[in-house]
Point group: C2
Chain length 347, copies 2
């Protein structure tokens, strides 16, 4: 039996919505069976598009929404838009109508709505935003990349638990390796919170494949499957990497157009350069998830193309079909039980 899956999609979020959303759905649905879509947005915009793409129309239930969250809405403004496609998209997950939601809209608004509607899991003080990071060894998981600016040792441990289950869910690695981002790999390095997190993970009694501290260069090297950090450092690392990749790419372009010979070489090498563009294409790693909530809410990049939106949809489907939530819940419960045991034995 093919298990059926329902995804809730915000058709109106992102720079090129709703066209990119419909095209992304078309790409995604090609490889899937037993998936249906709750499509949220303005029917005036969506009906003509669906009429043109029958394969998508067939899988979709269109749910008309009058309201719209704009890119300039502050989270507090967005939270009042209860008739918006974004709100309705997440609400469908809360109500059990769908197993995961996907939106390419305003990030701050999406985080605020997800937290309000889906609420935090037991034992999670703060949710964390994940990024999939291209490395020498495929994609790895980095969290938190900006949901919360600060994280204490206990929160960092929670991120490790969530990141580990997430890497298993979406990458199929049996025992994902975990590292905490720091300024050196030695145990005595770093500020108090990262050292505390390392101690808590080791003392947790969980069967985590913890490898110790890693440094900034370890991220792209793919030294571990999961890199744990606070949202300030994680956001800076992510954006610094994006900027560096762009800089190097511009140097490559410059090098390959610097002379007639170089240009001729670039033409001959165009097959290889196309492969390079694929490797570097951010749409292949599109999709961030706010982990730690009672439900899956996936954020697609606002500027992504159809290919990128399809990647985010696949991510949501993989996560919804996995045991992510039950695994995280079990590990968090075990940590809490451990804490109670030790406080009782101390008493």
């Amino acid at each position: 039996m093919v298990q059926s899956l329902v995804l809730s999609v915000d058709a109106m979020g992102g720079d090129s919505a709703p066209q990119v959303v419909i095209d992304g759905l078309a790409q995604f649905l090609e490889g899937q069976t037993g998936v249906s879509i709750l499509l949220h947005g303005h029917e005036g915009h969506l009906e003509p598009l669906l009429a043109d793409t029958p394969r998508v129309a067939e899988a979709c239930e269109l749910r008309h929404c009058e309201g719209l969250v704009t890119m300039s809405d502050k989270p507090s403004q967005a939270l009042r838009k209860r008739d918006s496609s974004m709100w309705k998209t997440i609400e469908a997950v809360r109500d059990g109508d769908a197993q995961a939601s996907i939106s390419a809209g305003n990030t701050g608004a999406l985080m605020a709505m997800s937290m309000m509607l889906l609420r935090r899991m037991d034992g999670v003080h703060r949710p964390a935003m994940t990024a999939l990071w291209p490395t020498q060894r495929g994609r790895i998981v980095v969290l938190d990349v900006g949901a919360n600016l600060e994280a204490d040792g206990n929160q960092l441990m929670t991120y490790a638990i969530m990141g580990e289950a997430y890497a298993r869910a979406i990458r199929g690695v049996e025992r994902p390796s975990i590292g905490i981002l720091n300024v050196g790999s030695e145990e005595q390095k770093g500020h108090e919170e990262v050292r505390r997190a390392a101690e808590l993970i080791k003392a947790s009694g969980l069967d985590l494949n913890y490898k110790g501290f890693v440094e900034g260069n370890d991220i792209s090297a793919g030294t571990v499957d999961v890199v744990v950090t606070d949202g300030f450092s994680g956001n800076i690392a992510l954006k610094t990497a994006e900027g560096t990749a762009r800089l190097v790419a511009s140097f490559v372009r410059e090098a390959l157009t610097s002379s007639l010979m170089a240009k001729a070489g670039a033409v001959l090498a165009s097959g290889g350069m196309k492969r390079l563009r694929t490797l570097m294409d951010p749409s292949n790693v599109n999709g961030g998830v706010l982990l730690g909530l009672n439900g899956v809410s996936v954020k697609s990049h606002g500027g992504t193309d159809a290919n990128g939106f399809a990647t985010a949809l696949r991510l949501a489907a993989d996560l919804a079909r996995s045991n992510f939530t039950s695994e995280v819940a079990a590990n968090l419960a075990r940590v809490q039980a451990n804490n109670q045991d030790s406080s009782e034995s101390a008493a």
Copy 2:
């Protein structure tokens, strides 16, 4: 009249010392007049090398040192090695025998010795380590990249003052623009310390070209001349960028060797690719300075080549010849005077 300059050089620090140091000196001295060198290290190693390079021997006064700081020495161990080439190199600056010191040795040891011997400038609570960062618009200054893990608003303001004078000294920009690294560019973004630093800079009464908050991707874009951050985030940004550049370079290599056609193209484009390697060559941006001390102490990368060591020597010379120290001292004094004024008027 050519002003004379004396540089104090640790001949024994770094992976390929002392050969790389002598070769780097040979490169550096070619473009210089009126510079002499105090060369610190073991005469048994150095005399044969100097005999082979008369141009370097001519400019050098060899000062024999028995002791050696190794790469595995902890700072506390290194500080006891008062007869080491590293200690003697910095001591020469403290004693006024030289205007700047350069070493490619153990970073932690060099920072500890520099702080002990040169001491902090008045008004500087914590010194900061600088990096020169290649960008779309040439090299920019990023600090702190790891001297201190944490920095409060006041310390970040001090970094801005020092980074600004440093960028003027080594890049010749009249009024270097300054940004504070943050997770967003809006004023209300970020944690308390970055917001406090922004307020302090604006209220300082100094004529700083402050541009506001910048994000990780702004570093490589070269949005500002000076990026100010705490040592934890700065270290992670720097190493993440290094890792990303290495990853993209490996993707480029892979692309250009993926087929016979691509390989042929790479041969044709080799002139351009050579230019790319020059742009990406870390030896062109080699040299970190611990700012905020009463004297110039330059750290060369331990694994650098002769070209990189020459870059670090040029950096030291530029800094020693500039008005860096007096400019920073004047700005710090003005900030302190302002603070006194406002506390007096509040009283």
